[in-house]
Amino acid sequence: MIATVISVPQLIVFIVSVVIIAIGGVGLLSARYPVHAALFLVMTLFGVAVLFIEEGAEFLAAVQVVVYAGAVVVLFLFVIMLLGVDREEITSFAGDTVRVALAGVGVALILAELFIVATGAWVTGAHAVAGKLSAGSNIGVLARSVFTTYLLPFELTAALLVIAVVGAVILSRRMSGVAQPRAHESREV
């Protein structure tokens, strides 16, 4: 596989971004403080954005960085700070080793199956609907497809977002008699 000619710079970029993603992922898992987890998440997002660019999806990379890393993670941090839950969490798996083991096994199985899928070639014969990727600039093609074939879903996303915002506002409205956060985090059960 390596024998096929790959332009070296692309390979370096790929490897670097994979490393960033890996660090970010593992960091997120093992972070004792939620804030660190959020930062590691940003790191991963950035790695993924780089891969998007490599694959010719510049617009998405931009959106990823601006919307995702910018807004979503900031929201996370905002909530963490608001609730004051930024306290040390014991991430040891002392309590429920059984469940962790099961989780491990489950994930391993999924990975195995995905590898098989990833390495196999899948042709289902369904013809392309959205249009050629290479016909013009990425954003142009993407915009043409979104605003023509997928116009209805696009409108729906607008409605979705409105609902989400309204929901969030109602959910987090201050209700009377709210329980104050307890002095220390309860021991992991």
Binding site: A103, G106, V107, E113
Partner: protein, 625 residues
């Protein structure tokens, strides 16, 4: 044959009248209505007898058909009655003795709270008995058979306040019912083989029965007879039946109902003639019952128990007669026995009546002078039952023993020994009750027992005369065998006649007489002035060979335990449990389902992961194929 309808109709009429108006007619009136009804029935019976007598010996069978009773498929049963020599003999002595006992009961049951109800049952009883003896098919006989069983149930438990009387009645009915099982099965076998149940078809065609079936039918019907006529396995109920009023014991448990079994056997003689093995067994059981009952009678203390055992013993003799084919002798003994046994019961009843219902002979004595009529009638009855010549017992028991001797000497020997015992235990009863020292002081609290009123003594006298004279019915000498000539056409070939040598003809009656007198003398010697002799009254005999307690332990207690076990354990837990089990199963499976909803988000996610794994695997597998 309308008069036959009258014979049966009068008691039924009496029963209905008393049932409807009994309470209003009140104390003596109801009794008289009952007695007149039976007396009229007796007159009708005599008329029937005369009518039949006028006919030629061959056509002495008249049939009266009323209406169709049951009809299904090939099974036809009509309500038809039959007047033939056998049923006439039965009718005569049943209605005769019953009339006397009705008369006696008016005195005996005076001032009883349910006076009229007593006569309702008595009339119903006589009606059922007459249906039994005059029915022309097996199911109708069965109707009479169960009718008398039910009436004996009601009459035994007449004083139902006493728990012992109530359970005695129930015991009698149930043991009779066991016998009736035999009756039903016998009837089915007869129908299966001869496709009819009417005597006019079955009896003539009896010879067509295969031997094995004839044996089975004979034994099955003997089981029924054993239940009704209290033979060895099933006689314990007769002892408890003494709980009923004495006239009941006299009528039902001495003269009429208990003889039904013997009548049935006589009626089915053509079948019995084919079943040699069955007849022998009947004879053996008969003589063994006679001996066992006589032995037990020797040591009873209750006056009615002695007489009850004596009845069982005499019935044993009759069955001996049936078993040896001497049907006429059996009927002859039945008739004479009805007279003197009814007499014994009634006179002991009058003793009990005057001693304020005291029944133990230990508290009686020296009553001869105070109650002369009762004493003398009892003595006459004692002499005839003992078989002392010239009384009727000598001839009737004699002819039975003669035929037994003809069949098998051993039977004769046991028969004679039992005759000795009979004379002895009746002698003991007479001497202890009527002679020796008076022991009734504390029972009657000082005032002397007086003779019973005339209404009770008249029947005693009449019966005494009958008991003494009945022998003439069938004297063994050729010219005077009236009963034999009268009945032989009914039995025809079934009747077995044994040819005894001249010397035996003389010797046998002589031994009977000697044995009877010997019994009397022994009784006189031992019991003249003793009221208690421990040596001669062992408890094993007193308790009736412990047969009753054995039955009670195994069947009664065992049955109750089984019933209670079935009701409280088997049904609720096993069967209901099975049903409940199914319901519990559904609840348990439901419970399992519930546990999965544990509320922990993480376990839900795990399940999701599991789901993903399975789906992916499925995609891969199906894609790979």
């Amino acid at each position: 044959m309308l008069v036959l309808g009258l014979v049966i109709g009068f008691p039924l009429l009496g029963f209905l009248v008393l049932l409807a108006f009994g309470k209003r007619i009140g104390d003596p009136g109801a009794g008289w209505v009952g007695t007149i009804a039976i007396a009229l029935s007796f007159v009708a019976a005599v008329v029937t007898w005369i009518l039949l007598l006028s006919k030629h010996a061959g056509q002495r069978t008249q049939v009266l058909r009323l209406f169709q009773w049951i009809h299904a498929g090939g099974f036809h049963v009509n309500i038809t009655f039959r007047a033939d020599p056998l049923s006439v003999v039965m009718m005569l002595f049943v209605t005769g003795v019953a009339a006397l006992i009705h008369l006696y009961s008016i005195g005996y049951m005076k001032r009883d709270a349910r006076f009229h109800q007593f006569f309702v049952y008595l009339n119903l009883f006589v009606f059922s008995m007459l249906v039994l003896v005059t029915a022309n098919n097996l199911p109708l006989t069965f109707l009479g058979w169960e009718g008398v069983g039910a009436c004996s149930y009601w009459l035994i438990s007449f004083w139902f306040e006493r728990p012992s009387a109530a359970s005695a009645g129930k015991k009698a009915f149930i043991i009779n019912r066991i016998g009736d099982m035999g009756f039903m099965l016998g009837t089915f076998l007869v129908f299966e083989n001869l496709h009819s149940v009417s005597y006019s078809q079955v009896l003539p065609a009896a010879h067509r029965l295969p031997a094995g079936t004839a044996e089975a039918i004979a034994l099955l019907f003997f089981l029924a007879a054993a239940g009704k006529s209290a033979q060895l396995p099933l006689f314990t109920w007769l002892l408890d039946a003494m709980e009923g009023p004495t006239p009941v014991s006299a009528l039902i448990h001495a003269a009429t109902m208990v003889t039904a079994g013997v009548y049935l056997m006589a009626r089915l003689s053509p079948i019995l003639a084919l079943a040699h093995a069955a007849s022998t067994t009947i004879a053996i059981i008969g003589v063994v019952t006679a001996f066992v009952a006589a032995m037990a009678a020797t040591s009873q203390t209750d006056i009615k128990k002695i007489v009850a055992f004596s009845t069982v013993s005499q019935l044993g003799y009759m069955m001996l007669g049936i078993g040896t084919g001497a049907y006429v002798a059996a009927i002859f003994l039945m008739v004479t026995h009805a007279f003197y046994k009814a007499l014994i019961f009634l006179s002991s009843g009058s003793v009990i009546h005057s001693l304020d219902s005291e029944q133990s002979i230990r508290r009686m004595g020296a009553l001869a002078k105070l109650m002369p009529i009762t004493a003398w009638t009892m003595i006459i009855a004692w002499l005839s039952i003992a078989g002392v010549p010239p009384f009727s017992g000598f001839f009737s028991k004699g002819s039975i023993l003669e035929d037994a001797f003809g069949r098998n000497e051993l039977l004769w020997v046991v028969g004679v020994v039992t005759a000795l015992l009979t004379a002895y235990y009746m002698g003991r009863l007479v001497f202890v009750v009527f002679y020796g020292k008076p022991r009734w002081q504390e029972v009657t609290k000082g005032h002397e027992p007086h003779e019973s009123p005339r209404i009770m003594t008249i029947p005693l006298i009449v019966l005494a005369v009958a008991a003494a004279v009945a022998g003439l019915l069938n004297l063994p000498y050729s010219g005077l065998r009236f009963l034999h000539n009268w009945l032989s056409p009914v039995f025809g070939s079934a009747l077995v006649s044994y040819h005894l040598s001249a010397s035996e003809k003389v010797l046998l009656p002589a031994t009977d007489a000697v044995v009877a007198l010997l019994g009397v003398v022994i009784a006189w010697r031992l019991w003249r002035n003793h009221s208690e002799r421990k040596a001669l009254e062992p408890t094993v005999l007193l308790k009736g060979w412990y047969l009753d307690s054995f039955y009670d332990r195994t069947f009664a207690r065992g049955g109750t335990a089984l019933a209670k076990f079935g009701d409280r354990v088997v049904d609720p837990t096993i069967i209901d449990g099975a049903v409940g089990g199914v319901a519990w199963l559904f609840r348990w499976v439901g419970g399992l389902g519930r546990k999965v909803q544990s509320g922990l988000v993480r376990s839900y996610l795990l399940i999701m992961v599991g789901g993903i794994v399975v789906m992916l695997a499925y995609v891969l597998v199906s894609a790979a194929r």
